[in-house]
């Protein structure tokens, strides 16, 4: 579905402010996967996702979506963008229409759909993101922060892309808003058979949702694998300015203190299953003494 072959990208190439953002990235993402992309600020995450729908063109290497090479002149980039929905960081600023409904319709109308079809899709997308029907006729500028964020995501979702890329969808939201958006994203992934790429700073969010994680560090893929494989390397993650979920840190500390706990625990559920027998055993020992 998505394939990057040895992709490099440099900003302001040739000038005094030259900055190599991506350096020989290769990866493949299959349909239906939920992929997390983590990395500290400036590691190349945002650059990478902009390559995936042709907003940026790689300096070298190939980006292939559904068998089409994006650098190929024959490739229709607009069609690629309808297929790969990209929701940028702080997407609220893309809202511009008089009403929320009209704004969500912007993408579908650009696809050449009729007004009726576009509105149907918009209502469906609004429903998926948890935007109440009563808000659809309001001005997008009267919404709260979390509602604006949802309206913006719905604007992407209404194009019914096969792949949904979200760049820090929860940045700047309160905990309740954050959880609700993440829950909705997981819901969409399951119900609409979406391939989702979630870019995030929050290890907890990625740990909760992703099947597979890519870790970016200064333009290169530092590690990849399922969450337990990645979070097992907590020392290296900390070295490159990242962290591991809180529960992984707790498990690491306990292991350092001599407890018999395997590495790569990243959900409270896992921790519960492993820690409870240990605690019971210890309690028994105390009683026996």
């Amino acid at each position: 579905m998505i394939k990057l072959e040895n992709v490099s990208y440099t900003y302001m190439s040739g000038g005094p402010f030259e900055k190599k953002a991506l350096d020989g990235i290769s990866l493949q993402i299959d349909p239906g996967e939920f992929v997390g992309i983590i990395g500290h600020t400036g590691s190349g995450k945002s650059t990478m996702i902009q390559l995936l729908n042709g907003l940026l063109k790689p300096d070298s290497g190939r980006v292939i979506i559904d068998g089409e090479d994006l650098s190929d002149k024959k490739t229709n980039l607009r069609n690629i963008r309808f297929k790969v929905g990209l929701c940028m960081q702080y997407p609220e600023y893309q809202l511009f229409e008089e009403t929320v409904l009209k704004d969500i319709c912007f993408g579908p109308l650009n696809m050449g759909l009729s007004k009726k079809e576009a509105e149907e899709r918009a209502r469906f997308a609004a429903n998926m993101t948890g935007l109440p029907e009563s808000l659809l006729e309001k001005s997008p500028f009267d919404l709260s922060g979390g509602q604006k964020r949802r309206a913006a995501i719905a604007g992407i979702l209404a194009m019914e892309p096969k792949v949904l890329i979200l760049d820090e969808p929860t940045a700047g939201l309160d905990p309740a808003g954050r959880d609700e958006i993440l829950f909705k994203i997981r819901d969409m992934h399951k119900r609409m058979d979406l391939t989702v790429l979630l870019v995030s700073h929050s290890m907890e969010d990625v740990a909760k949702l992703a099947d597979r994680i890519f870790v970016l560090n200064s333009g290169k893929i530092e590690m990849s694998g399922n969450p337990s494989e990645v979070f097992a390397k907590s020392a290296r993650l900390r070295e490159i300015g990242l962290n591991v979920p809180q529960i992984t840190r707790v498990a690491d500390r306990l292991r350092e203190a001599g407890a018999d706990i395997p590495p790569g625990i990243y959900t409270t559920g896992d921790a519960y299953r492993i820690l409870l027998p240990l605690l019971n055993k210890q309690n028994k020992q105390i009683k026996n003494n």
Binding site: N53, L55, M88, L95
Partner: protein, 269 residues
Amino acid sequence: MLKDITLGQYFPGNSFIHRLDPRTKILIIITYVVMVFLVQNFIGYAALALFLAVCTTVSKISPKYLIRGLKPILVFIIFTGIFNLFLTSGEVIWSMGFLKITREGVRFAAFMVLRLIFLILGTSLLTLTTSPIALTDGMERLLSPFKKIHLPAHEIAMMMTIALRFIPTLLDETDKIMKAQSARGASIDSGNIFARAKAMVPILVPLFISAFRRADELATAMECRCYRGGEGRTRLYELKYGRVDFWGWVYTAALLAVIILLNITFGSF
């Protein structure tokens, strides 16, 4: 497209040109502009070119960057050249149908194009070697004598500082918004002029909203730090004239003398 705008771009450095007091630089640029219009023959332009070349070499700014500044007004330069070439009356040296080129037209076109190029190159060198803050500081000091006739020198300088400060921010913002709308299938650079104008709405509306929001936030932030205009305001860095400024003026005066001399010796054209 947005990458070509060099306005307000500053290259930090510690060259002779960088160390000149901003007031000196502004006054020299004014003198330079006067000289660009004073020159009456091509030898004079050669002298100007030499002056600019020396300044550029001393400033250690890559000439590539200076020339890149011409790009946005290239169309304007070409049109100026063409209009002057065909529309100046005088001794006809070539004609085809209603089009005719005169000897005076050729000279006039060449002069106009050279003037524009020299103006842009000179002022680009100023903005490339002077930080916007230093530039507006210099401006404020130069205008302060006019405070007596109620010219709001500080306010003008502050407005310029803020405007310059926000150019890169707004460019970034525009780029971001354009990308976000392209991701939703907006086609910004296709179709006829009306389609294009209509396609600007999804970019301009968010841009204006964010500009107003930023202005509002900035005003609040300034008030929080008790900003109350220029009255009685002292500065962290006082501007001081130094030896470099003296030599800068000697150099400029020498060029002025050369140009006047060339004008007298060779006359116009």
